[in-house]
């Protein structure tokens, strides 16, 4: 078996037993990138020189000592909006061309301390605004299962990199589904933790009350492994929470026979593809066969989530993206200007893409005097109704199960001209961000085009161990997680 096809936890074992060197692991990542990235375009920047040096250093260290980090020698790809000291960070935008943050994000420090090796930064929708990775200023990423399709988004580069073996795992960020959507479309495992579980320090904000960093991995066990490392209170993020970090890797292997699974009926409504629905139902049956029971629950305000989510995220984005004016970093409009306001406008007009500009306009409008109560305040009220819906549902069950996406990956270019249709793709994911609860997407099957289908498990606040547990047991039962993509262009 090729090195790049191993699970993360298997590689850790082989490195420890000296069956594989870290240099071989890193080399296999870059070989894979070399042979596939012209097809996929997962990466926007590579850190090869540093990674190769680090691998050498780590191998030498291993000869002398057994005391190593918990993720010693694992390669990871970083979504291009999580800051790494001195490494170019563009957020998929021209406006940040040339920006190199002078500091590490909290998650990067945590991963580095445990011996991971960064291979490069991955492509994404500009400022994480999008669900297909087509909104990148650096061109789209393609789905490893069918190169004519999108990988999902906005963490499309990260999901494609993991699915194709370009890195062992990746970091993503999820504001309305940006980890789970590409995980579902690319047939990998994506986890959006509880808001506050993982520090956002060093994550470039899109919508700061919704954003959360999470791992994208090949299997649930790896996801649990990474989450253990990146979770916890960070004094530099006031919204990070000091709850106990569970031993996820021990929790997940427990049986699920006592679990009560809620089936939120609104998540199975119109617009869910037949192939998706039947695959989800088969997986629920599998869980029942493991002893779990199911109960129907309701999230009555689901129909308002798209409107609420988009309103809030646009308002927040309009403020979060106000700092990109070209004055301190990033690209400046070439045209010298007489006054500072026209310079700002020109820089922003020329270097933000159309989707980002659309969201800034709409968010600015909704926050303006006279509209604020009608839009922003109202959306906040609906947000708390949606939150309450979930709180009520969790009184009847341990976790909710449903599809991650209404369909499998769509063709590149098929939705890009229709933003509203694109927005409705988030219907099953964005309510989770509004509530701030955790959710996991794992591959559960394939449709008639051999495209992966994502199974979503939604947990109560800080119950990552519960959803990882269900995900792990289902994954073992389904036995498809080692399937690898074709890297070919499909039909239709």
């Amino acid at each position: 078996m090729e090195i790049y096809n191993y699970m993360g936890y298997e590689l850790l074992e082989k490195i420890k037993n000296k069956e594989i060197t870290i240099q071989e692991v890193v080399q296999s990542s870059y070989d894979r990138i070399e042979s596939t990235d012209h097809l996929l375009h997962s990466f926007v920047n590579l850190s090869k020189k540093k990674a190769v040096e680090k691998a050498k250093e780590y191998d030498l260290y291993l000869k002398k000592s057994k005391q190593t980090g918990k993720l010693y020698g694992l390669t990871f790809a970083n979504k291009d909006l999580i800051c790494i000291d001195g490494f170019p960070t563009t957020c998929g935008s021209k406006i940040l061309e040339g920006f190199r943050p002078p500091y590490n994000a909290f998650v990067i420090d945590r991963l580095t301390q445990q011996g991971t090796i960064h291979v490069g930064n991955t492509n994404m929708d500009e400022f994480a605004m999008g669900g297909s990775t087509e909104n990148s200023s650096y061109g789209p990423t393609y789905n490893p299962w069918d190169l004519s399709r999108v990988p999902g988004g906005s963490s499309g580069g990260s999901a494609a990199a993991v699915a194709s073996g370009q890195s062992i795992f990746a970091l993503g960020s999820d504001t309305g589904g940006s980890i789970r959507c590409p995980a579902a479309f690319c047939g990998v495992v994506g986890l959006k933790p509880t808001y506050g579980r993982v520090s956002r320090y060093g994550l470039v904000a899109f919508a700061n009350s919704l954003d959360q960093i999470g791992p994208i991995t090949k299997c649930v066990y790896d996801s649990a492994l990474i989450l253990e490392i990146i979770s916890g209170k960070d004094p530099l993020d006031s919204t990070s929470v000091n709850n106990t970090v569970d031993k996820y890797t021990e929790e997940i292997i427990k049986p699920v026979d006592k679990k009560v699974l809620g089936i939120p009926k609104e998540f199975f409504g119109e617009g869910i593809e037949k192939g998706v629905k039947s695959s989800i139902n088969k997986s629920i049956e599998k869980l029942e066969s493991l002893g779990a029971t199911t109960v129907e629950v309701s999230i009555p305000h689901l129909e308002y989530t798209i409107a609420t989510y988009y309103l809030l995220c646009m308002c927040e984005a309009s403020s979060n993206l106000a700092r990109y004016d070209g004055l301190r970093y990033g690209k400046v409009s070439d045209d010298p200007s007489s006054d500072v306001y026209s310079a700002f406008s020109r820089t922003r007009g020329a270097n933000f893409g159309p989707e980002v500009r659309r969201r800034i306009f709409l968010g600015t409008y909704a926050l303006s005097a006279g509209y604020y109560d009608m839009f922003y305040i109202k959306a906040l009220k609906v947000r708390s109704l949606i939150r309450n819906d979930f709180v009520e549902a969790f009184k009847k069950c341990d976790s909710l199960v449903c599809p991650t996406m209404p369909s499998t990956a769509f063709k590149v270019g098929s939705l890009i001209e229709d933003p509203l249709e694109m927005y409705t793709q988030d219907i099953l994911t964005c309510s989770i961000n509004l509530a701030g609860i955790p959710a996991l997407s794992i591959p559960c099957g394939f449709d008639s085009n051999n495209l992966p289908i994502g199974f979503q498990i939604i947990g109560d606040y800080f119950d990552e161990k519960g959803i990882l547990n269900i995900g792990y047991q289902l994954e073992q039962e389904l036995g498809i997680y080692r399937k690898t993509p074709s890297l070919k262009t499909g039909g239709k």
Binding site: L81, I82, C83, T89, C91, L96, F99, P101, P102, Y103, A105, R200, Y201, G202, L203, V204, A205, N208, S209, P235, L236, D237, S238, T239, C315, E316, S318, S319, L321, A322, R323, Y324, D325, L327, R328, Y329, V340, Y341, F344, T364, L367, S368, A369, Y372, D373, Y376, I377
Partner: protein, 478 residues
């Protein structure tokens, strides 16, 4: 009738670090853009964390001003673009749209022409200071604008009054009291350059108001207000209709300039800052801050009246500057033989001669070398008749250099005859001996020099020329 409301921004200069990061607050002597980090530069991905000490400082001020402290403390974003604002928004507080200021209400009592008045406050709130823009020469002619982010993120506290101030003098007195309170609470050193900025809303009753921004010191406020009132009154006299507008105080030209009218006012799109979580301020915390509050100026004035038998006027003036009041108590207390007349004298010396000298030299007492003991000795020398008050006054320069009274007398005794009585005796003799010159003097005042010359000859140049001149003039008048 004039209506004035003030918004006073004060930097909490006594904090060690900025409002949302651990960069040093003490940026004034630093090279530009050296006291910065990803947070106060607003770099992508950075997040603010509230400096807990600011809560303590703001609580102190709120308690002294008798405001109602809100038990939940959180921030809003004020969105606007300007080169001094690295995030494109300022983290501030807002008392609408579900927001609350740090504390509401409160008052400051001012005295004007022996009449007391409570200036009612609307609220106090906290916010971050923007960066500093640096120009070459004036803002208009400068070929460039430089941005120094050292100031970015320094904690400001804003004190907003109700529109209840009715004259520039009242505004001056208000600021005098506020300055004193801020000094006593120990939250800021308002003598540091740029530590205070004032915006003033001014209107003539029945007409639209203007907001004058950019008044960068307490001293300038009275001046700016006077100017703006005259401008508005003149416009009304000429039948012009005043519009609601924002004006800029031009410190160099001492005039206000129109910046923008109300219809072009910015919409700041205030909304909650969700990178921060609300901080609970409970009664226990407030009680604890209250217990640790030092004596405030009004309490001290009351005590000084009792302990030193000072008048209300004297005691209130004396306490205004804590350093002066500390000096007073140290000196007046030191000699057990001192009683009400010495207390009064000590106060007069401090408030008139010493404070006058400090004003003239634009300095403060702790920067000079005078000690409370020096002044105590001076008063004893006067009491014992060793020197006259007039002579004592001529000692002030030397006292401020740190010379003791006995040393000054010794030095002067060697080289200069400064005893008034002796000089006066010489003067009388010279007038009697030289009736012709006295007669000339009555026609031509220049003849005075001849008389003084005679005295210098008699004393072989030892008489103090200024005292001689003064005494001679006094005698000649008779």
């Amino acid at each position: 009738m004039v209506i004035i409301g003030l918004e006073v921004h004060i930097q909490l200069t006594n904090l060690k670090t900025k409002l949302f990061c651990s960069c040093s607050n003490d940026y004034r002597k630093a090279d530009p853009n050296t006291y910065v980090c990803p947070i106060c530069l607003g770099l992508p991905g950075s997040l603010p964390v509230v400096n807990r000490k600011t809560v303590d400082f703001a609580t102190r001020l709120a308690l002294v001003l008798e405001c109602d402290i809100n038990h939940q403390f959180w921030f809003f974003r004020k969105n606007y673009h300007y080169p001094d604002l690295p995030k494109g928004f300022q983290i501030s507080q807002y008392n609408k749209a579900g927001g609350k200021a740090f504390a509401d209400g409160g008052k400051i009592t001012v005295r004007l022409n022996n009449h007391k008045k409570d200036v009612i406050l609307n609220r106090i709130h906290l916010e971050e200071d923007p960066a500093r823009l640096v120009h070459k020469g004036s803002i208009v002619s400068s070929p460039f604008t430089l941005v120094d982010y050292n100031r970015s993120g320094v904690c400001l506290i804003e004190i907003v009054t109700e529109p209840v101030i009715s004259s520039p003098e009242e505004a001056r007195e208000f600021l005098k009291q506020l300055k004193s309170i801020v000094q006593y609470t120990g939250i800021s050193n308002l003598e540091l350059e740029g530590s205070v900025r004032v915006d003033a809303n001014i209107s003539i009753k029945g007409h639209e108001r203007s907001e004058v921004k950019n008044i960068n010191s307490f001293r300038e406020v009275e001046r700016a207000l006077r100017h703006e009132i005259v401008r508005q009154k003149n416009a009304i006299k000429r039948g012009k209709i005043l519009i609601q507008e924002t004006r800029h105080w031009d410190e160099k030209r001492k005039i206000t300039i129109s910046l923008r009218s109300k219809e072009f006012e910015e919409d700041y799109r205030y909304f909650p800052e969700q990178d921060l979580v609300p901080i609970e301020i409970d009664d226990k915390f407030i009680e604890n801050v209250k217990e640790n509050l030092p004596e405030m100026p009004n309490e001290r004035a009351y005590r000084l009246r009792r302990e030193y038998m000072l008048t209300e006027f004297d005691s209130e003036n004396l306490v205004l500057d804590k350093r002066i009041a500390d000096f007073y108590e140290e000196g007046a207390n030191a000699d057990p033989s001192f009683g009400s007349s010495e207390y009064k004298q000590y106060c007069n010396w401090l408030m008139n001669n010493i404070s006058g000298w400090l004003n003239e030299h634009n300095t403060t007492i702790e920067k000079t070398k005078i000690t409370p003991k020096h002044l105590e000795d001076l008063i004893k020398y006067i009491r014992e008749g060793k020197i006259t008050t007039k002579i004592a006054k001529s000692f002030v320069d030397d006292l401020m250099q740190g010379k003791s009274v006995s040393r000054i007398i010794k030095e002067r005794g060697k080289t200069r005859l400064s005893d008034e009585i002796l000089i006066e005796k010489h003067c009388k003799e010279v007038i009697e001996e030289n009736p012709q010159i006295v007669e000339d003097y009555l026609k031509n005042p220049k003849a005075l020099e001849a008389l003084i010359g005679k005295i210098m000859a008699k004393t072989r140049g030892q008489a103090d020329p200024s005292i001689t001149r003064e005494l001679m003039l006094g005698l000649l008048k008779k």
